[in-house]
């Protein structure tokens, strides 16, 4: 499951470029537990947020090699050792015939495996997310929503709210569901 936070501050931006500029400022101000909830991926956001390069490509490479090994092993075992058959008088171990299957298995293993690993890893390897119901629906339509979680080591509610407001964000509010009900602070700008 995605880790959830009970407390934090939300702010809206209306342009992807503004969101990018804001992300860089949040990063430079030393916040670490923050995220951007956006309707679509923004190119350059990882750099602006100061995220490290993903380790998923290494998983892809390893899975690709496993796929090659699997396909070569299977074909050589079946076509040469277990059940050899004569196709057009060609040798049982005919490498050109094995190449297409090997290629497809490589792609299949690498692509599906990477997708699964990315989904599983993405749920664990993320900053605590805001309480679901409190995020504006605009984050899936037309708003770029900044979230700073109260789990951040330098958390201070008043300071965080002022900071997000200083970035030019709209609809800035401190949310808090730590006592089982929502406390919303801050006026809607």
């Amino acid at each position: 499951m995605v880790p959830l936070s009970t407390k934090g501050v939300l702010g809206h931006f209306y342009e992807p470029a503004d969101a990018l500029a804001a992300a860089a400022k949040v990063r430079d101000a030393g916040w670490t537990h923050f995220d951007f909830l956006t309707p679509f991926p923004i190119h350059g956001m990882e750099d602006a947020m100061g995220q490290k390069r993903s380790w998923i490509p290494y998983v892809t490479a390893i899975l690709a090699i496993c796929g090659i090994a699997f396909a070569q092993g299977l074909q050589n075992y079946v076509m040469v050792y277990d059940w050899p058959m004569n196709f057009g008088g060609k040798p049982f171990a005919s490498w050109p015939a094995f190449v297409p299957i090997t290629f497809e298995a490589m792609v299949f293993w690498a692509a599906l495996g990477s997708a699964f690993v990315a989904i599983i890893a993405g749920k664990k390897d993320t900053v605590p997310q805001p309480p679901t119901m409190l995020v504006t629906t605009g984050a899936t339509v037309d708003k770029f929503v900044l979230w700073i979680s109260a789990t951040d080591p330098k958390w201070n509610a008043a300071e965080a709210e002022t900071f997000v407001r200083s970035l030019g964000a709209d609809g800035v509010r401190v949310v808090d569901v730590s006592e089982g009900r929502a406390h919303e602070g801050g006026a809607h700008a």
Partner: protein, 404 residues
């Protein structure tokens, strides 16, 4: 609302000329290539001379036509990331006129290259007699000439619209280019087939391969993107076009080189597998001839040079973004293209008892270097005639803010 992405433009770069050292190297290459060709002509080794000429002229012609084809692909794909490096393919197209004339000159050496050009051979050969309505010198000059003329014409239209935009600005010239690009890609598919059939495939007029035109197209794309990568990479390394081309643009360009390298392996293997699988004598002769007379090591080196080594080197992200890593791989690919043309042409120029034996391609390489040098000089001359960046292209801002 603040639009933080509307940065001020970087300082206009003006015009770029070839650095003196590149000009010097190009002139030296032209002299060396010319000397090598002249020597083998004067020694009467016409087959060696003309096959070297063919390899060199086709190498350079591929770079020239890639300029137009790539412009067309970029316009149709609306590849805004490429706007700041568009002058590179535009300058490449200026080779098409001189290069096209040099290509037509292959006809003068047809007797040394193409056995279908000998009337007595054709008369004694039922298959060649059957093919004679297509494979004769009149059709050679007519079809290759029309194809090359179409390339020159479309290059003039597409590049001309871009230069008009430099003066007028506006989206109009972009739209014009898109229309011509759509037409050109159809024309290109047909004409690159015709040119590759006459110049390369007909070296062995009995052999045929349905993959051949696609393979030549792939060669053109792989080599062309590699050449652009060399130029753009050197520009970035030397601080030219600072602010206009950065590692994000190189990354996209590197991905195109990488993709073309993978695609080359796909197509070359397809051709090999179709021939291997069907096992028809007229087709298998191509690979059999390249396994005899010492050609096998040359044939086996080809997939290593053109796919395995560049592919593995280009897998890491940094290899596409860092010009110090991208440029050497691109140069290796250019060399591999020479190697492929040598493996295509070398074993095919003679038959029977006189079949060519494997040899280190010294004259061939010198001739190719000469043509590359001549190409580079024309390229540099054309590059210096216009602003180095199309500053009035409506997609310029999009390009400057590109993230890859």
């Amino acid at each position: 609302m603040s639009h933080s992405h509307s940065h001020a433009l970087p300082a206009a770069p003006g015009r770029l000329a070839l650095p003196g050292i590149v000009q010097g190297l190009s002139i030296a290459a032209v002299l060396a290539g010319g000397a090598a060709l002249a020597m083998s002509f004067s020694r009467g080794d016409l087959q060696l001379a003309w096959s070297s000429y063919l390899i060199g002229v086709f190498f350079a012609l591929g770079l020239g036509v890639f300029g137009v084809a790539w412009l067309a692909i970029l316009y149709l794909a609306r590849a805004d990331w490429s706007v700041t490096m568009r002058r590179i393919p535009e300058a490449m197209t200026s080779w098409l006129l001189p290069g096209g004339l040099l290509t037509m000159a292959v006809g003068l050496g047809a007797h040394s290259l193409y056995h279908w050009s000998h009337a007595d051979v054709v008369a004694a050969d039922e298959l060649l007699t059957h093919k004679a309505p297509f494979l004769n010198m009149g059709m050679f000059y007519a079809l290759v000439g029309v194809s090359l003329a179409l390339w020159v014409a479309f290059a003039a239209l597409i590049v001309g619209a871009s230069h008009r935009q430099d003066k007028e600005g506006g989206i109009g010239p972009t739209r014009t280019s898109r229309t011509f690009s759509a037409i050109f890609l159809v024309v290109f598919a047909l004409t690159i087939s015709i040119v590759s059939f006459y110049l390369l495939l007909s070296l062995d007029a009995h052999w045929f391969s349905t993959m051949f035109a696609v393979l030549v197209f792939t060669d053109v794309v792989q080599t062309g993107t590699a050449f652009v990568a060399v130029v753009a990479g050197l520009m970035v390394m030397n601080g030219r076009l600072q602010g206009f081309i950065n590692d994000n643009h190189l990354h996209s360009l590197g991905k195109m080189v990488f993709a073309a390298t993978g695609f080359w392996a796909y197509i070359y293997f397809c051709q090999h597998m179709l021939i291997w699988y069907a096992n028809i004598p007229e087709e298998t002769v191509y690979f059999l001839r390249r396994q005899e007379n010492g050609w096998l090591p040359y044939l086996l080196a080809l997939p290593a040079l053109k796919f395995v080594v560049p592919f593995l080197l280009m897998v890491p992200r940094d290899a596409k973004r860092n010009p110090k890593k991208l440029v050497p791989v691109a140069i290796l690919i250019l060399f591999a293209q020479f190697w492929e043309l040598f493996v295509m042409v070398g074993p095919a120029v003679s038959h029977g008892e006189a079949a060519a034996h494997a040899h280190l391609p010294v004259v061939e390489f010198a001739a190719t270097l000469g043509f590359i040098g001549l190409f580079t000089l024309v390229f540099g001359w054309s590059l210096a005639r216009h602003d180095a960046v199309p500053l009035k292209d409506p997609a310029l801002t999009e390009c400057l803010n590109y993230h890859s």
